[in-house]
């Protein structure tokens, strides 16, 4: 019997891969360590180290004439960024634009996502997901410039709005909010749609069986379950708006956001330390935002 078995089971060949896998299966910690090396390397070296380098650059200064960075430690740039009225104004404007874009996106995304997840047939649902994703296949610049021509003086908006007495807002902060809200909309719809998909239909039915009105069901059953998904979507639209400088450049008129200040200080002024100091502002804001989101428990379900 035992000899028969031995004949049927192929002989185990002793290869280096085989030996390695034996070692790995016996040593759980080594296995875990190797698995984590690549992501930790990425997070540690590429992400954290880059941020640290940024912080260090912010503590240096630049010789304005020869353009050479002098590596003497100083807090001048950071003090200037924190106390300068220019940076305060621009920071407030940037946060306001990012918040407004986020609100607009959530308000538009909620009904669309609800329709996609709960009303549409599976076939239509698939078509709608593709429709939502479609704009992501076009270049950012193409979409921003398209809005530039839509909003222009003799553009589509003015032409279509003329019979109703609606004229284009022209280039400025309104145009910036509209364009950014358009650009980031798919990133807000998708998490909310995914969140809604996870809300069981039976809960809605139970709520209605127990006599709750539709609005009450939405308020007390759907919204609390959906909250983490909404916050997840808002992180995308808020952080992407916070760092944007291209859209403002194209449709923002004379306005500038934090991204533009960073861009001009790197590109035009060749002042990397000041640019690094300014770049710390959105990092700090996002840090606060993510901490608040974590406290609300929104990140747990991601």
């Amino acid at each position: 019997m035992s000899t028969e078995l031995q004949e049927r089971v192929p002989r185990i060949r002793d290869s280096p891969a085989r030996r390695a896998s034996v070692v790995l299966s016996r040593h759980a910690r080594l296995r875990l360590g190797l698995l984590l090396t690549a992501p930790l390397f990425w997070l540690g070296l590429v992400y954290i180290a880059a941020l640290a380098a940024l912080l260090i650059t912010a503590l240096w200064t630049v010789d304005s004439f020869t353009g050479l960075i002098s590596t003497t430690w100083t807090l001048d740039n950071i003090v200037e960024v924190v106390t300068g009225s220019l940076y305060q104004t621009v920071t407030l404007r940037t946060v306001a634009v990012a918040a407004l874009v986020t609100v607009v996106d959530i308000v538009i995304a909620l009904p669309i996502a609800f329709f996609m997840a709960k009303v549409a047939s599976p076939r239509l649902q698939r078509a709608l997901v593709i429709a939502v994703l479609m704009p992501l296949w076009a270049s950012y610049l193409v979409k921003a410039y398209a809005w530039r021509s839509v909003l222009s003086n003799d553009g589509l908006w003015d032409w279509a709005g003329a019979p109703f007495g609606i004229s284009s807002p022209g280039y400025g902060l309104t145009a910036t909010v509209i364009t950014l809200a358009y650009l980031w909309l798919p990133y807000v719809i998708l998490p909310i749609y995914a969140g809604l998909e996870r809300v069981p239909d039976s809960l809605l039915e139970a709520s209605s069986d127990l006599g709750a009105s539709t609005s009450r069901t939405l308020r007390t059953v759907v919204l609390p379950l959906l909250w983490p998904a909404i916050i997840a979507g808002s992180i995308f639209s808020f952080s992407l708006s916070l760092g944007d400088y291209i859209t403002v450049n194209i449709v923002g008129g004379t306005n500038q956001l934090l991204g533009n200040l960073v861009y001009t200080n790197v590109g035009a002024a060749n002042n990397l330390p000041l640019a690094a100091s300014i770049a710390l502002i959105p990092i700090v804001i996002m840090f606060v935002y993510l901490t608040a989101a974590r406290r609300s428990g929104a990140l747990n379900s991601l």
């Binding site: 630049v62 304005s64 004439f65 020869t66 353009g67 050479l68 220019l86 104004t89 621009v90 530039r148 021509s149 222009s152 003086n153 003799d154 553009g155 022209g170 280039y171 194209i250 923002g252 008129g253 004379t254 500038q256 200040l261 001009t264 200080n265 590109g267 035009a268 002024a269 060749n270 002042n271």
Partner: protein
């Protein structure tokens, strides 16, 4: 434009250089090893052009070094390569500051720099003095472009002038009446065109305000728009802050400017001749050189202080200054040529007022603002480019 380029210019120099051929090591514009102050002109200058090294690396504005790869009809690099045996590799840059950063890599032998970068390149020791006596085509360059504050330091030339142009006033002939003759339409009278004024988006635009103040507030005592002390800069900043309320948008991308004049989003503001030329026929716009004068640019071909191929670099400088090559490059970019004979190879010279010394005299060419006042004042300290950059950020708010 594509007459076969005659082989006199660059080849002549090459032949001459062969006779004078000295050891390669001594024929370079080697790097200044000492101070980087603008006054400390390096003492070592090329005295002869030796044999070409076989390659030359060029850093330039887009459209300055075309070898036919972007547009087969536009090629003035291949003739140079066949004449001299120097193979050209080139890189383009988008802003003067980008060029300034790239020159620090030491990878380039030649750079085409505008006046807002050239003095900084000299100060940083990145470019070497140029012995113009070795360049046979230097004689053909307009005198009013030679030995200017942006291409020479202490009487030492730092390169060969390329094209030049003016930052003009463009206006919509229907919206802006009567036709303006002064910059006041974008400053004191800008409120008439609120939301439809445009301005060039760069710290160097502060000089445009200074040019206006030279005429309208003479008691400020501005002699040169690139030499502003604290008070003068503050006055220019105030003027620009007042202007900002009426500005629809700033431009630095010239395609954006063309589009907004076409659609009527902008009706008045600064422009370049090349923009005016690119606006489709029928658009009611016109350009004018206002009475106060204008700012403008005059670019300079410079040689890197650490050039690996100094001989090929000199040959390129001489070649690009030749009438044919100068005509081709400046016509493609849309600016006036620097060589007097270049207009024989161009049909559009009049649009750019080439060689019109009176016209050129009204242009304050871009120059890097530095602490040492370039208008000759010794009792004052001027504001430097970093102060202008900060001021510009505050003006935009």
């Amino acid at each position: 434009m594509h007459t076969p380029i005659r082989r006199r210019g660059a080849l002549g120099v090459t032949a001459g250089a062969m006779l004078l051929l000295a050891a390669c090591g001594t024929t370079s514009g080697s790097s200044p090893s000492t101070s980087a102050a603008p006054s400390a002109a390096p003492s070592v200058t090329a005295t002869t052009i030796g044999a070409g090294e076989g390659t030359v690396s060029i850093l330039a504005w887009p459209g300055y070094v075309e070898d036919g790869s972007n547009d087969p009809a536009v090629d003035w690099v291949t003739p140079f390569e066949t004449q001299t045996g120097c193979q050209v590799t080139s890189k383009t840059y988008g802003t003067s500051d980008e060029a300034f950063s790239l020159m620090k890599t030491g990878d380039y032998d030649v750079v085409a720099a505008s006046g807002d970068a050239s003095l900084r390149l000299v100060a940083a020791g990145d470019v070497a003095p140029v012995n113009t006596e070795l360049l046979s085509n230097y004689d053909g360059i307009y005198d009013f472009l030679k030995m200017q504050s942006w291409n020479s330091v202490d009487g030492q030339s730092y390169g060969i002038p390329h094209g030049y142009g003016a930052n003009l006033l463009m206006y919509n002939t229907e919206a802006v009446t009567p036709a303006p003759t002064s910059w006041d339409v974008v400053f004191d009278k800008a409120s008439s065109y609120a939301g439809k004024v445009t301005a060039y988006d760069s710290p160097i635009y502060i000089a445009d305000a200074a040019v206006y103040l030279m005429t309208h507030q003479p008691d400020l005592g501005i002699k040169n728009p690139y030499a502003l002390d604290e008070t003068q800069l503050a006055a220019a900043v105030d003027l620009l802050k007042a202007q900002r309320a009426h500005v629809g948008e700033y431009w630095s991308d010239y395609l954006k400017s063309i589009q907004s004049f076409e659609t009527g989003d902008t009706v008045v503001g600064t422009t370049w001749q090349v923009i005016a030329n690119s606006i489709p026929e029928g658009t009611p716009v016109d350009v004018v050189l206002p009475v106060e004068g204008v700012t403008g640019w005059s670019d300079t071909w410079m040689v890197a202080s650490k050039a690996k191929s100094p001989n090929c670099a000199y040959q390129w400088l001489n070649y690009i200054a030749s009438p044919e090559a100068n005509a081709a490059a400046t016509a493609y970019f849309g600016e006036a040529p620097s060589n007097q004979a270049a207009c024989e190879f161009r049909t559009d010279c009049e649009a750019f007022h080439a060689g019109d010394a009176d016209y050129a005299a009204k242009i304050w060419y871009w120059s890097t603002p530095i602490a040492e006042c370039i208008d000759g004042r010794t009792d004052a300290t001027c504001t430097d480019y970093s102060a202008w950059t900060k001021a510009w950020a505050e003006i935009k708010g």
